[in-house]
Amino acid sequence: MLEAITSGLTALLTPQAMLFMFIGVIYGLVIGILPGLGGVVAMSLLLPFTYGFETAATLALLLGAHIATIWGDSVTSILFSVPGSAKGLALCFDGYPMTKQGQAKRALAASATGALLGGIIGAIFLALCIPLIRPVILALGPSEYLMMALWGLTVIATFSEGSLMKGLIASLLGVLVAFIGMDVVTATPRFTFGSDFLMDGISFPVAMIGLFAVSEMMKLAIKGTPIVDRSLVTEVSTVWQGVQDGFRHWWLVVRSSFLGLWIGVLPGVGASVAGLAAYAQAMQTSKTPERFGKGAVEGVIAPDATMGANEGGGLMPTLAFGIPGGESMAILLVAFIGLGVVPGPDMLTKNLDLVFSMVWIIVIGNILVTIIGLGITPWLARLPSLQANLMVPIVLSVCFVGAFATRGHIEDVLVAAVFGVLGYLMDKYRYSRANFVIGMVLAVMIERNLHISLTLYGADFLLQRPIALAMLVFVVVTAALPFIRSWRREKAMVAGAGS
């Protein structure tokens, strides 16, 4: 084992591998920052250039780029409320309010530190748990995925401040939008009105670009002020504060990282759910959940730590079974085959040094991203104070190009514009946009997994799946925690007033 750890590192310490890692990271950061493009696009564009190089160098290039897109995604979510891809959504909830409060540097640094720590925990876990991967993956199935989605639903209450009814209406609207397209169970078109374009459904990243970014730019254009008006709000935070936040909330980081690993080993659950679930657990376990959605740094650290660790988790099904857990892992699998490596149980014996090379790539790649990220944060933090007449056309152009780039459909530009208007109206009349998105992400996942669970195990599927039952208990307890805390607080206040 020790030999594999050192030979895995040695393979990476060649000039070619280090250069490839550096190129991958810089390239991944750029791709990640562009809305609509994420790790999958970054890796697929690199793939044709990987043949004929050292194995470790090839993996360093691909994985380095993929890792860097995680923080790249977070940057635009925090600064402009423009989610780079589906997984960056959760960063908009608290990152953007922090920017508006003059804490952009702190938010960006906390996000980079969260991703770094999550990435390292994920990599260590991947290294330690290789022998346990297979039984863990085999123990999980659609019923457990269903519970994960239900957990995500519990966040709806958080964003329903003021009116639970409005919160539920927003979620329901999200569910209806998610149902546009081919029904995943019966393969019949739903709400498509005979349109070819609608057969594929509404793209989630495009809807987010519209709901959050386009609508925010509409608000800015109407107000005519920058996101952060430096004459009213000065940048009060520092990069160092953000780094300290990451370490100060170490227990949150650990919890979020394990959540990321857990979601990573479940193929088909997806990173967008990972971000939302991370946000849900951070809020539900916080002693002050009322700060969430208004600029709580924990709401930035948790999703990034989860997504950082998700990387290690996502590699597990690919390495253990040769079955890619997602699109990016499918690309990695193609690279493996090109390199003559057959993933599967043999990875543990014949190619253990390669597994450790990947563990090292995740660690070194994350460190590199964090160093570069922290270095450029002071400059990035200045961007939200650009005048509205400069900011709005630039961000809107990037948004519409991003909407087009997501699937290459010109109709998606129109969808982004329509969702922009919808987002603006929802914000104006206090219907939570976050709840809309949660409904949209989780609707199909719940429909899909509930159908499979009922078909495979029958109506009493929970009794046949003890892990799912335990997860349901956990979901109920964590959802009830904030209410119990608030009840206790009120009781204590009444008791205090009485005495």
Binding site: L138, A187, F321, I323, G326, S328, A330, P345, R407, G408
Partner: protein, 339 residues
């Protein structure tokens, strides 16, 4: 004798003229794409197999067509139907070409899919780039060890499926031909998801392309029991072909299905495509797929080329569609079952 001599003289006079005309057509065809831009509409996403093949062949197509640019446009969605519908309505000037899985284009109309607004026989087939056998696998620890075990299972064969793709249709045809019942469990996200369901034992088995199942078969996580192809695999010669186990009255059906699946990744053009463009593109596809540079890359990247000439494919598609009328009720019944 006089008459004969006159015919010979006439033929002698016409021959150079005919030769020059046919030579001019060939020359026009070979220079048809010179300095033009060709749009290859790939029916797949950024990371998909169709896109990887399209990008691999792209520079060689440019070289052999003489085009100024061969542009790859990704048009994923509807299992390839979106790109096919687009090409169906495209201007037949030879500048818009589809690249993707042709078997879906044949199967979807047969199954009465509402998304298919075209007639597959009217497309112009320009050449197949590759094809791989489909294989029915069960879980490595499953009690099912052969296709005969499936036939005497005594309960429906649980088939995890991601929807009405070509593997779903293939399974329906196999069940009909080999006389067993299938219960399709739809809603799975993709092949990774269905593969894990089979390995875990949640489902009995699933059908995939050979390359997708190669790693789990080698590691023992999956066990292949049947191939839907016209030839046995040289690596796994013991796996029977569907045509070998199907009864005589079902031979035509299973052979039609196997041939449909073998059409796989191909270039097609819109109905009524300019004949000069057809000739030029078919020739360019053949030349590109035989280019030593491309062949070297396919070996390096482990992406084999299994070429079929466009003209041969055109004849085959018409034959398949005629022969596959018997498939239609089977496919429609399978779709109805999950609705």
């Amino acid at each position: 004798m006089k008459m004969m001599r006159r015919k010979i003289v006439l033929a002698g006079m016409l021959a150079p003229a005919l030769l020059s005309v046919s030579g001019r057509v060939a020359a026009q065809a070979s220079s048809f794409y010179k300095d033009k831009v060709i749009n290859i509409n790939v029916a797949g996403g950024a990371s998909g197999g169709h896109t990887r093949y399209a990008r691999l062949i792209q520079p060689y197509l440019q070289k052999h067509t003489g085009a100024r640019e061969v542009r790859i446009t990704l048009m994923p969605g509807g299992g390839g139907l979106k790109a096919a519908n687009y090409i169906w309505r495209a201007k037949p000037d030879g500048l818009n070409i589809f690249f993707g899985n042709v078997s879906t284009l044949i199967l979807a109309p047969l199954a009465g899919s509402p998304g298919a607004t075209f007639d597959p026989t009217k497309f112009v087939y320009l050449g197949r780039a590759t094809s791989e056998p489909r294989v029915l696998c069960v879980g490595g620890k499953s009690a099912i060890k052969s296709i005969q075990d499936v036939q005497k299972l005594g309960r429906p064969f649980l088939y995890p499926s991601q929807g009405t793709d070509e593997d779903f249709y293939t399974m329906a045809v196999l069940a009909d031909a080999l006389g067993f019942k299938v219960k399709a469990v739809t809603g799975y996200e993709g092949n990774a998801d269905t593969a894990l369901a089979v390995i875990k034992g949640d489902g009995d088995g699933h059908i995939t392309g050979w390359s997708e199942s190669m790693a789990p078969i080698k590691s023992g996580d999956k066990h292949p029991i049947l191939m839907v192809n016209s030839l046995r695999s040289p690596d796994y010669p013991r796996i029977p072909l569907v045509s070998e186990v199907a009864p005589a009255n079902k031979q035509a059906t299973v052979r039609a299905m196997a041939t449909i699946l073998e059409t796989h990744r191909s270039y097609i053009g819109p109905p009524g495509m300019d004949p000069q463009a057809v000739a030029a593109f078919r020739a360019a596809v053949t030349a590109a797929l035989k280019d030593p540079g491309l062949l070297e890359e396919t070996i390096k990247g482990n992406r084999p080329v299994v070429h079929m000439e466009g003209a041969k494919q055109q004849v085959l598609i018409e034959e398949i569609t005629k022969a596959s009328a018997s498939l239609s009720p089977i496919l429609k019944a399978a779709v109805k079952e999950i609705q």
